[in-house]
Subunit: 263 residues, 2 copies
DNA sequence: TAATAAATGTCGTTT
DNA sequence: AAACGACGTTTATTA
């Protein structure tokens, strides 16, 4: 059973099992988004194993090969398979069964429906862009565009050529030509971030007499990070993602969305 | 508008905005699971900020206060709020808008619907147990139940009383009464795991002449972990989660499900 | 409340 | 393909 071009959409309210089976099969082979709401049990075998006993859930099968089983609670799906999985639909012992295979990890997910409340087969059109801003990357770009955000006289180096260890956010020189290693965090910097910065600074001080400054840029310092920072001889510069977003907007005179990072 | 006891379920196929609004509002105030499929844009403000431009999506509102916006692709929701959030439904400029507040983190998610394909208000009954096995915790329990899985003559200490640093998986003594620190991984142990074990062993060797053995228990060693392990003077014991699950079953003579960890 | 570790983490980038 | 780090990580556990 193939989906007709003029009927890319199926909604079945309390379908019988055959109706549900044909709709789901057609939807999956037609690369549609399939929603099944009903009473089901779910088994998973792969990196771990699990069994979910019978209950009413919302199950999604997406055209990219991802599958999700959602209970009426929790943020996370109780069972799932990532994109790239293969769907197989069948009738087994009078029940609708959908199996989801992921060859790469040798994983299999099986959902078996005892009762079906609703089946929806949808050709969802979603080309909308997703913009996430005030990211760490935005903060980096703001400092490169306006180095005084970090310190008067700061001259970043990263903008000109990539630095040896690519994991360093920004390298540059202060007014006195002292090398500065800049580590950026978009949230309050933790002790972990401090230790990370120390390692980066060590990379440049190793086997050298040259003084190197390590600057942690973040909106705030997390509990305990202040003391560790001081004890490791590093510095802190308070800077919020919001401030960076404003700077980007002003610097280039374009709408903020221009600077969003597309996901 | 309250949901009547005898109509705990609403399915609206291509509803008009007023029908949709009343159904969603009733569903949310009645602590039902609400599914809205339609064309919407989504804004988020909180730890970061995001804007999702118009497109057709599946949006879930659960009775526990969690919300999910799913595009027709990807495993992860494009936007969400965790359980405990507050829902507010309203009609705004002729569109259905649902806002989700999370006071604690000062986060807000707003979904605005231009077109509504489907609204479902459901009273999902889901008491089914979820069992996950072959977890790291299961491996630990298996070794405690059957110490020879690790090594002939191994006597675990953890079972008797909790150990000082609670982050160590198992502590015990070998046949020669040498202290053993056991780190368990359910997947191939990475270099990170090796370094972790080294830190734990150091905790016991610090300021002591006593020899301490560090054993990494895992089904396999990841690339590079072998060399690091040897260079740090640690040992490896191959053990699979499956083997542990079998041992648990044999040891106690109960069905495997008895040993599942309930999530 | 804060810190820490685990997750079927997922997802991207780089080696 | 493996490895490494980031994530609005989330979640559970422990101090």
């Amino acid at each position: 059973m193939a989906l007709k071009k003029d009927s890319p959409r199926i909604v079945l309210d309390r379908p019988n099992i055959d109706e549900a089976y044909h709709a789901v099969k057609a939807g999956i082979s037609g690369h549609k988004t399939v929603v099944i709401i009903g009473k089901c049990s779910v088994d998973y075998e792969g990196r771990a194993s699990s069994r979910l006993e019978s209950g009413e859930r919302i199950v999604l099968f997406k055209p990219d090969g991802s599958a999700l089983v959602h209970r009426p609670r929790d943020y996370a799906p109780v069972n799932w398979q990532p994109p790239g999985s293969l769907f197989r639909t069948r009738l087994d012992e009078g029940q609708l069964q959908v199996r989801v295979f992921r060859r790469k990890e040798n994983e299999i997910l099986s959902a078996r429906f005892e009762e079906i409340t609703l089946v929806a087969v949808l050709d969802l059109r979603d080309k909308g862009e997703f913009y996430l801003y005030a990211s760490e990357e935005d903060m980096k770009r703001a400092i490169l565009a306006e180095p005084s955000l970090l310190e008067e006289g700061f001259r970043p180096l990263t903008a000109e050529r990539p630095v040896e260890p690519g994991f360093i956010d920004i390298l540059g020189f202060d007014r006195a030509n002292t090398l500065m290693v800049v580590e950026i965090k978009r949230k309050a910097a933790t002790k972990e971030a401090v230790k990370q910065l120390r390692r980066y600074v060590d990379f440049f001080t190793a086997g050298s007499e040259q003084k190197v400054r390590g600057i942690l840029v973040a909106p705030d310092l997390a509990r305990g990070a202040q003391r560790l920072l001081a004890s490791l001889g590093l510095e802190f510069k308070a800077l919020s993602p919001q401030r960076c977003a404003e700077t980007l907007r002003k610097t280039r005179g374009k709408p903020l969305t221009e600077f969003f990072v597309h996901q």
